[in-house]
Amino acid sequence: MLRLIARRFGLMMLIMFVVTLLLFLANEADPLRVARSVLGPYAQPEQLDLWIQQNGYDRSLAIRYLDWIGRLLVGDLGQSVIYKRPVGEIFWTRLANTGILAGITFVIMVLLALVLGVLAGMAEGSPRDRFISVLSIATTSVPEYASAVILMAIFVFWLGWLPGTSSMMAGFSWIEMVLPVSVLVLYGFGYIARMTRASMAEVMTTHYIRTAVLKGLPYKHIILKHALRNALIAPFTVIMLQINWLLSGVVVTEYAFGYKGFGALLLEAALRRDIYVIEACGVAAVFVAVFTQTLGDLGYTYLNPRIRFK
C-alpha cells in the first residue's frame, strides 16, 4: 500500500512537471512575446530589449524554467499585467472563492446523485428507475450557460426571487450562491447518478447478492450490508474525477454570474494575455485535478479489498 502511494505520487509529480513545462513553453518560450504582452502593443523595440534584459529573459530556456518553478514553489506568482499588482494578491482570494462555490456544489451534487443512483439501481427497470434515469439524462443535457439564462429568466426576471449576479460586492451572500450552485449541480449530478445506478444495478444481479437473498437475509440488510459497499466502489473514482469536470463548469458559471472566482480570472487573463495569471491558474487547475485523481485512485484501491490485500 505504501509503495502504491509512493508510485501514485511519483506519477503525479511527473505529470505536474510535464504540465508546468508545457504551460511555460506555451507562454514564455519567446521572450519578445512576453515582453510585448507585459509592456503592451505600443512598446518600442528598445523598451522591449531593456525589459528582457532587466527581467532575466535573456537567459537560456532551461534556467528560466527552473527559476520560474523555484519562484512558484515559494509562492511568488509574478506581476499581473491587467491588475498591475502581484498575482498572488488576487489569485488566492479568487481561488478561495471558487473553493467555496465548488465545495458547496460538490457536497450537494454527490449526495443527491448517490441517493438517486442507488434508488434507481436497486430496482432496475422499475418506473422509479426509468424516471430517475430520464431525469438525469435530461439535466445533463442542459449545459451551464443554457440553464443559467433559463433560471435567470424564471427566478430573476419573472419571479424576482433571486439576484441575477453573484459578484458578492457587499461581502459573502448565501442568496447569491443559489443560482451558480443550482446550475452546477443540475448539470453535474446526472453523470454521477447514472454511474451509481449502473454500478448498483450490476451489483444487484451478481451471484453474491443471490447468495445473500437465498441465505434468507432481510431486503434492507442485503442492500445496506451486501450491495452498497460494492456498488459505491466504482462511483468513487467517478466522483473524484468529477472535481476535474467541476473546475470546467466553474469557468462558465462564474462568467455567467459574474462570480469573482478563479475561472473568471483565468478567462479574463486568457483573453487579455495576462501570462503570469494564466500560468498560475493553469498550474493550480491541473494541480487540483491531478491531486484529486490520485486521491481517487488510492481511495479506490483502499475501498476494494481485492486490490488492497493482494
Binding site: 451471484h207 447468495t211 437465498l214 441465505k215 434468507g216 450490508k225 451486501h226
Partner: protein, 758 residues
C-alpha cells in the same frame, strides 16, 4: 425452528407436483420447466441431471422462489415438509431460505461477497435466523469450518474470499449452507468450476456431511458420473421435462428413454475405444424453448421416432413395470416396444489408422516467465527478478496420424505449451522441431507461411473462437487466401463449401454470422478453419470442454474423422482424463509445468502409475456402476505456479510421499519399457506393485453382471408377483370360505325357515 414445521419423517421433505415454471420475454411466455413432479424424502439424495438449457437450475430457483423479475411459477405445487409454499408469505419464505433450505452454487468465487470477510458472511446466517449473538455465531462458524475440513479456521475467517483458493471457497459456501442445519440442500453444479482432484474432495465432503446431518440433497449436475457417486435416485431432464426417473441402479443398468440411453453412448467410458467402439453421438441439437416440436420433444433426435405414436400429443410419464423399481418412470410412448437396455451402444467400428514418421519433436523444452518481484524484501536481497517455470523440461515426440493427449489440471502449463508451439511465446530453452526444423525460438510473426500453415489450432471456447463481426465463409476463406492455397475467389468459395461439407454443416452457413450458430456448430467451424490450410499437425486446446455431452461426442468424432482422413498429428490438450483416454494413442500427464508421466494410453492407465496419475484416475467420476474404483482423495490444493515446491512438484499432496527427498530433490525420470516414463523417487518396482485404480469388467463379465442384475430384478419381480398372487389366492380362498360360510348360513337359514314353516 418454527413450530409449524415438524421434523416428521413420514412427510417427505420436498414434494413437487406438476410444477410449471415459465419465463416471460419479449417473444411471450417461454415454458422453462413443465409437468415436473418429484418427491424427496428425509435423508435422501436425489440427482437432477441434464444438459445445459434443460431447466434443471430453474427447478432449484423455483423451489427457492427466486425466479427473477421475468420468471414465475405458472402451475403445480411445491410442498416443503407438507406445507404448500405457494401459501407462504414472502416473509415466511425468507425465513425458510438459508435456515431450512440452503443452496450451494456453481462458482464459489462469485457466490461470496468480495468486500466482506468470511466471518461476516458466515455469522450473519446465524444472527439472522437463530437470533444468537455475534460471539456465539463466530464460535459456531469456526466449528463448521472445521467440519468442512478447513485447516486453521480462525485465521481463515478474517480473510476475504479472493485470498483463498477455489476449493476452500467452495468449502466455505458449503459451511455457510450447513450452518443452521437445513433439512434440504440444493446443490447447483457445486464442483463444475473446480479441478478434478479438488472436486473429488468436495464430493467426498458432501457425501460425508449429508450422512452426518441427515439433510436431504437435491444435486444438480450435467455429469452422470457424479450422480453415481452421490445420489440414491436421479431424474433425467430434457428440454424442460423429466424424461426418466428412477433409482441409480435402474437408470444406469436399463435406461428406458432413448435420450438417457443415448447419453451413455456419448460418454467416453473406459471400455469405449476410438476404433473398435467409437462413441455414438446423438444427432441434432436441443430444441430452443420456443421451437419445441409437437409430441415428444426428443422426437427429432430419436432413432425410434414413430409419427403416429410420438409426434401427436404430449407424452405422459409412465411407470416402468418391467423391473422391480417402484420409482422408475419414463416419458416415452414406446418404452415397452423398444429394446434399449441390452448391449451398450456404439458407433461403427473403424480400422485403426497406421502411424507414420515423426512429425513433431520436443526436446528439453523450457518456458520461464520473468516476474518482477518489487517487494522491499526482494529488493533488499537483490532477487527482484523471479522466474515462473511454466514449462520445465518437456520431452516427447509425435508421429503422423498419431494423437497425443496432454492432460493436467489448471496451472499445469498445458496452455503455455500450446502457446510456445504456436509461436505466440518463444521457448526459453530446448528445441521444438516441426518436420525437423527447430521452431521453438521463432515467434509467430517470423515463421514462414509453410511453418504457419502446417501447425494450426482448435480453440476452447466456442463463443470466442470465431470473430463475431465476420461471416463464417469469410473467416474460413481468409485462411485459404492467406496461406495461398487458392487465389481465385470462385475456387476459394468452392473450398469453403467443401470444408463446410467436411464438418457436416449446411453450406448456407457460409453467409451466417457466428451468433446465429450453436456452440457445437461454432466449434465445427473452428475445426474447419484449422484444417483449411492442410496442416500436418493440429493442436486442440480443450476443444470440447465447453460443450454438452451429446454435442461433445459429435465434435470428438468429427475431429477424429478429419484427422484420419488428413493423416494429421493431433495434440489433444485436456483436463478430462476420460476424453484423453478415449482418443489418445499416447498420453503426457503434466503437473505444475512438469511432465509426471508419459507413455502409451494403456501404459499410463495401468500400474506402474505415477502417484499423481493414480490420484487423477481415481478422481474422475465414471458413469458406470460396473466399474470398481479405488478411492484416493488428495489433501490440500494445487500449489501456486509462482511458488512451486523445490523438489517434486507433487510432494505437497502426494499420498505416497517418501520424505525429505521428495521435497528437496527433483525426481529422476524412470523409464519402463520402450516409451513409458515416470518422474518419481519411488522405485519402479515398488510402483509396479500398486493395484489398478479401476477394475473394468470385460465384455463377458459385464454382460454376465447385467444379466445377473436383470435376473435378480426379474426374480424379485416374480417373487413380488408370486407374493401378490399368493396373497390374491389367499384372498380368493378366504372369499371362497366366506362364500361357503355364507352358503352354509343360507342353508341354515333355509333350514330354519323350513323348520319355522313346519
Amino acid at each position: 425452528m418454527p413450530d409449524d414445521i415438524r421434523p416428521d419423517t413420514d412427510v417427505p421433505v420436498l414434494e413437487i407436483e406438476d410444477l410449471r415454471l415459465s419465463y416471460y420475454t419479449r417473444a411471450g411466455e417461454i415454458p422453462a420447466v413443465m409437468d415436473f413432479s418429484l418427491k424427496v424424502n428425509a435423508g435422501e439424495s436425489v440427482g437432477l441431471v441434464g444438459e445445459s438449457g434443460c431447466g434443471k437450475s430453474t427447478v432449484a430457483n423455483g423451489i427457492m422462489r427466486y425466479m427473477g423479475k421475468n420468471g414465475g411459477i405458472v402451475g403445480g405445487t411445491i410442498k416443503f415438509k407438507g406445507r404448500d409454499m405457494a401459501e407462504m408469505s414472502d416473509e415466511e419464505v425468507r425465513r425458510l431460505r438459508g435456515a431450512e433450505i440452503a443452496m450451494i452454487y456453481q462458482e464459489p468465487m462469485a457466490a461470496l461477497n468480495p468486500s466482506m470477510t468470511i466471518a461476516d458472511q458466515l455469522t450473519e446466517v446465524l444472527t439472522e435466523h437463530e437470533g444468537i449473538g455475534r460471539q456465539e455465531a463466530a464460535e459456531r462458524a469456526a466449528e463448521m469450518l472445521d467440519a468442512v475440513h478447513i485447516p486453521d479456521p480462525r485465521r481463515l475467517m478474517d480473510s476475504y474470499p479472493h485470498q483463498i483458493s477455489g476449493g476452500q471457497q467452495q468449502r466455505v459456501v458449503i459451511a455457510m449452507a450447513l450452518l443452521s442445519r437445513p433439512s434440504l440442500l440444493l446443490l447447483d453444479e457445486p464442483t463444475t468450476a473446480l479441478d478434478v482432484t479438488v472436486e473429488a474432495g468436495i464430493v467426498e465432503l458432501i457425501a460425508e456431511l449429508s450422512e452426518k446431518t441427515g439433510a436431504s440433497l437435491l444435486y444438480i449436475s450435467h455429469n452422470l458420473g457424479l450422480m453415481l457417486e452421490v445420489c440414491d435416485r436421479i431424474c433425467v431432464m430434457y428440454s424442460g421435462e423429466v424424461v426418466e426417473q428412477g433409482s441409480i441402479d435402474s437408470i444406469f443398468s436399463w435406461p428406458k428413454h432413448p435420450y438417457t440411453h443415448g447419453l451413455f453412448g456419448c460418454i467416453p467410458l473406459p471400455h469405449a475405444d476410438k476404433n473398435a467402439r467409437p462413441l455414438a453421438a446423438i444427432r441434432g441439437q436441443l430444441p430452443l424453448p420456443h421451437q419445441r416440436p409437437k409430441g415428444c420433444y426428443f422426437g427429432p433426435r430419436c432413432d425410434f421416432f414413430v409419427q403416429e405414436k410420438c409426434g401427436q400429443q404430449q407424452i405422459p410419464m409412465e411407470e416402468v413395470t418391467t423391473d422391480n423399481d417402484p420409482v422408475h418412470r419414463v416419458r416415452c410412448a414406446r418404452w415397452n416396444e423398444v429394446d434399449t437396455s441390452t448391449a451398450m451402444i456404439a458407433g461403427e467400428a473403424r480400422e485403426p489408422a497406421p502411424v507414420g514418421e515423426v512429425v513433431l519433436e520436443v526436446d528439453n523444452m523450457k518456458k520461464y516467465y520473468e516476474v518482477k518481484d518489487s517487494s522491499f524484501g526482494a529488493m533488499l536481497s537483490g532477487q527482484s527478478m523471479r522466474y515462473v517455470k511454466a514449462n520445465e523440461t518437456i520431452n516427447f515426440r509425435a508421429r503422423r496420424s498419431e494423437t497425443i493427449g496432454i492432460v493436467g489440471e489448471s496451472g499445469c502449463g498445458k496452455s503455455t505449451f500450446a502457446k510456445v508451439l504456436m509461436g505466440l511465446e518463444t521457448a526459453t530453452d530446448g528445441e521444438v522441431r516441426l518436420n525437423h526444423v527447430n521452431i521453438g525460438a521463432i515467434p509467430v510473426r517470423s515463421r514462414t507461411a509453410d511453418q504457419l500453415s502446417s501447425l494450426q489450432m482448435v480453440f476452447q471456447n466456442p463463443n470466442d473462437t470465431l470473430n463475431p463481426s465476420h461471416t463464417i465463409g469469410g473467416q474460413i476463406g481468409r485462411v485459404i487466401k492467406h496461406f495461398g492455397i487458392e487465389k481465385d475467389p470462385a475456387k476459394i468459395h468452392e473450398r469453403v463449401m467443401n470444408l463446410l461439407d467436411t464438418v457436416k454443416l449446411p453450406r448456407a452457413f457460409a453467409e451466417r454470422k457466428p451468433r446465429q450458430l450453436s456452440g457445437g456448430q461454432k466449434q465445427r467451424v473452428g475445426i474447419a478453419r484449422a484444417f483449411a490450410g492442410n496442416p500436418s499437425t493440429v493442436i486442440a486446446d480443450e476443444p470440447i470442454s465447453a460443450l454438452d455431452v451429446s454435442v461433445a461426442a459429435a465434435v470428438t468424432e468429427l475431429l477424429m474423422d478429419i484427422q484420419r482422413e488428413h493423416e494429421t498429428t493431433l495434440l489433444f490438450i485436456s483436463h478430462d482424463l476420460s476424453a484423453v483416454r478415449y482418443l489418445a494413442d499416447r498420453i503426457v500427464v503434466m503437473y505444475l509445468g512438469q511432465i509426471m508421466e508419459r507413455g502409451t494410453t494403456d501404459e499410463v492407465f495401468a500400474p506402474p502409475y505415477h502417484p499423481y496419475t493414480e490420484a487423477l484416475l481415481s478422481a474422475v467420476p465414471i458413469a458406470d456402476p460396473e466399474i470398481e474404483k479405488r478411492r484416493i482423495v488428495l489433501e490440500g490444493n494445487l500449489p501456486s505456479v509462482l511458488d512451486p515446491p523445490a523438489g517434486c512438484p507433487f510432494c505437497t499432496r502426494c499420498p505416497r510421499v517418501l520424505g525429505d527427498i521428495c521435497e528437496n530433490e527433483r525426481p529422476p525420470v524412470q523409464i519402463d519399457g520402450e516409451g513409458h516414463a515416470i518422474a518419481c523417487h519411488i522405485p519402479l518396482d515398488e510402483l509396479r506393485q500398486v493395484e489398478p485404480v479401476l477394475k473394468v469388467p470385460n465384455e463377458l463379465e459385464k454382460k454376465r453382471s447385467l444379466m445377473l442384475k436383470q435376473a435378480r430384478a426379474k426374480k424379485a419381480a416374480a417373487e413380488a408377483a408370486a407374493a401378490e398372487a399368493a396373497a390374491a389366492s389367499a384372498r380368493a380362498r378366504a372369499a371362497a370360505a366366506e362364500a361357503a360360510l355364507a352358503d352354509e348360513l343360507v342353508a341354515d337359514a333355509d333350514a330354519a325357515i323350513k323348520q319355522d314353516q313346519t
